[in-house]
């Protein structure tokens, strides 16, 4: 539109309906017809500079009970409708949900977070440390202890929090920036207090800007030992983490060797934590028993050989292996790259080939009472994961959808304390999603419609492969507002986040806002 457009300016179209007017109007209309819907979709995907998770998406009361009469119906996005605000009732705050403040701590831990360069496998990689190392110091508590962790952020400009992954802590201690606390800025502090009631293998990590911070190593292991101790003579924690493509165990890009005296017949417990965004395959040189999943003991686990175990992102598995008395060693392969070797010093075991067959937890072990009846749920929800083009936070792309909608138009699953909740998860997105519900443990009822027949399969991080469906159940017994998200933290940052909230709850914190809370 150079010279000639000046000679024939658009307002030269005087007689509407003439061919010349049409020649100008039709292209304009066609352009508007393309651009306007895109602009509308773009605008609708924007989020305010500060908002409460209570205002995200729409409340989903599920099937099974009537919604609270005092609660407004499903609303649109960011319209200020607060599903947790019954009329004429004061909401309970997430900050009220704490451990007994009068009880003194049994275990005190001081953690200092810093932004530092890490030396991994001979490379220098930008990352984060806790008390000068990544992973941070392992925390080992005894069941029933009140754990008090004092966090100080020394130099991480984005701020930090600590989330106790898999531990059903009181809501105020959950460590989700913008939901249960503000991110801790440089120079500031926060104290976490919770009673370590569940035994097992857990981990802690930042839940502020968690995608880069966890990838950069702001994490550590947390083990809760039973009062009676464990049956195995060797107890090994193996935190698997990939720093910039370098596979490590406990921060070292090499096999983890655990010495055992030659000739001694031992049982080793290998606690594997997958802190990556992707799933990991585990297999052994001999046989193994899978004795705990996500911290919960498997009921009557049998010996397994020739089958690998898939450990989803965020999940944990405790394997029991036998160290033979003939002077050889036990070897647990954590992907092809790294292994845990328990045996006499200097003894090597060749890496076993990766088995093609998989251990299926749907049928592993034997049934045991669940402690509740999932056959008569009081709430039933759908968590359908898809993928479609659109805008998220103003950015075009191919985004994850929850129940057909894109972030922030996602469901807020509303429950009442005591509800028996069943969630139907379906993954139609073409990629694997490790689904993590905070504050609760869920039992798998069925996969692809096939009922679970093995040991109760309790999870907090469930690896859902493309095309799979899962029916999971739990009792709503930990009031508050809880994230229910994909633990491929890149996916979470792309909007794969929903929340579970108890009726009548509210949070004083805001996503973004002055504290710049960015939980993903």
């Amino acid at each position: 539109m150079t010279g000639h457009s000046r000679r024939h300016p658009p307002h030269g179209c005087v007689n509407a309906g003439t061919p010349r007017c049409l020649r100008i109007a039709l292209p304009m209309l066609a352009t508007v017809a393309i651009v306007a819907p895109l602009a509308w979709l773009w605008q609708a995907s924007l989020v305010p500079a500060a908002y409460s998770v209570m205002d995200m998406g729409y409340p989903d009361y599920g099937v099974g009970t009537m919604p609270d009469p005092g609660v407004s119906g499903p609303g649109g996005h960011m319209q200020g409708q607060m599903p947790g605000h019954p009329m004429a009732a004061t909401p309970r705050l997430v900050t009220d949900m704490i451990a007994d403040p009068a009880r003194p701590a049994d275990l005190r831990v001081d953690l200092v977070t810093r932004k530092e360069r890490l030396s991994v496998g001979g490379r220098s990689i930008p990352g984060f440390t806790v008390n000068g190392t990544s992973p941070g110091p392992p925390i080992v508590a005894r069941q029933g202890q009140l754990v008090e962790v004092h966090l100080r952020n020394e130099s991480i400009a984005d701020g930090v929090t600590l989330h106790w992954h898999g531990v059903d802590v009181p809501n105020a201690m959950d460590g989700v920036a913008g939901v249960t606390q503000d991110a801790v800025p440089v120079g500031d502090e926060f104290t976490y207090r919770f009673v370590a009631e569940q035994t097992g293998t857990y981990w802690y990590h930042s839940h502020q800007v968690s995608n880069p911070q966890v990838a950069g190593g702001l994490l550590g292991s947390l083990v809760v030992l039973p009062k009676s101790g464990i049956a195995q003579q060797v107890d090994v924690s193996a935190v698997a983490h990939t720093y910039g493509g370098v596979r490590t165990i406990n921060g070292k890009a090499e096999d983890l060797r655990v010495p055992a005296r030659p000739g001694e017949r031992l049982r080793g417990r290998v606690r594997v934590t997958n802190t990556d965004n992707g799933l990991m395959k585990i297999w052994t040189a001999g046989s193994y028993r899978l004795i705990a999943v996500d911290g919960t003991e498997v009921h009557q686990p049998t010996e397994i050989s020739g089958r690998s175990l898939t450990l989803g992102a965020g999940a944990r598995a405790d394997l029991e292996v036998k160290v033979p008395s003939d002077g050889t060693a036990a070897r647990v392969q954590l992907s092809k790259a790294t292994a845990v070797i328990i045996g006499p010093p200097g003894v090597d075991v060749p890496a076993p080939p990766q088995p093609a067959a998989e251990l299926d937890l749907l049928t592993y072990g034997t049934p045991a009472p669940l402690g509740f009846d999932p056959a008569h749920p009081t709430r039933q929800f759908d968590y359908r994961i898809g993928r479609r083009p659109g805008f998220v936070k103003g950015r075009p792309g191919l985004w994850w959808s929850i129940n057909g909608r894109l972030f922030p138009h996602v469901p807020m699953y509303v429950v009442r304390e005591g509800d028996v909740v069943v969630i139907h998860i379906a993954n139609h997105s073409g990629e694997v999603h490790p689904m993590h519900l905070h504050g609760h443990h869920e039992v798998v009822l069925a996969r692809n419609g096939v009922p679970a027949t093995g040991s109760p399969w309790w999870v907090d991080s469930l690896n859902v492969l493309p095309g799979e469906t899962y029916d999971i159940a739990f009792v709503a017994n930990n009031p508050g507002i809880w994230m229910d998200h994909c633990h491929n933290l890149k996916h979470a940052a792309q909007g794969m986040i929903a929340h579970l909230m108890y009726e009548g709850f509210d949070t004083p914190y805001r996503i973004a806002g002055p504290a710049d809370n960015q939980p993903e």
Partner: protein
């Protein structure tokens, strides 16, 4: 507008060539890294921060180009085509746009069904040829004068 149309059509074609180069560069880098003992699995694919091998940039940029830049160019080409007043310009911009959408879908589907990835490669050739033809036919159209009289002042750009 005609110049913009031609430039956009040729840019789409150039992007197809760049995409082909980037992805092979990335895969070649991956092969070299694995040869050197690197283990490539889901954890590495999903890992953040420093790339495991430098050529991974090729794979990442291929994704960004394919998801954002090429569809953006094709959409602009379609919009510009409304104003060129050359017979068939809208149709061919539409053909390019549809091929771009098909290309994106095949690329995405390839993660589930690798055979779709093979069609992604084939469709790239169709898109490259289609985009070149779209740019060239406008020049041919201008030469035989099927356009509106006032647009004759437009200078063909080779």
């Amino acid at each position: 507008m005609r110049t913009a149309y031609k430039v956009l059509a040729y840019l789409v074609a150039a992007e197809v060539a760049v995409q082909a180069m980037l992805i092979v560069w990335g895969i070649a880098g991956l092969g070299k890294w694995v040869d050197g003992g690197g283990v490539f699995d889901k954890a590495v694919i999903e890992s953040e921060g420093a790339p495991p091998f430098p050529e991974v940039v090729g794979i990442i940029v291929h994704g960004i180009n394919g998801f954002f830049v090429v569809p953006g160019l094709a959409l602009l080409l379609l919009i510009v085509s409304f104003f060129t007043k050359v017979r068939g310009a809208i149709k061919w911009a539409g053909v390019v746009f549809v091929l771009v959408i098909v290309q994106g879908q095949l690329g995405g589907l390839g993660h589930d069904f690798p055979l779709a990835g093979a069609l992604h490669g084939l469709n790239a050739l169709a898109l490259f040829g289609g985009a070149i033809y779209t740019g060239r036919r406008l020049r041919a159209a201008a030469a035989v004068g099927v356009e509106q009289p006032e647009a004759r002042t437009a200078t063909p750009v080779s």
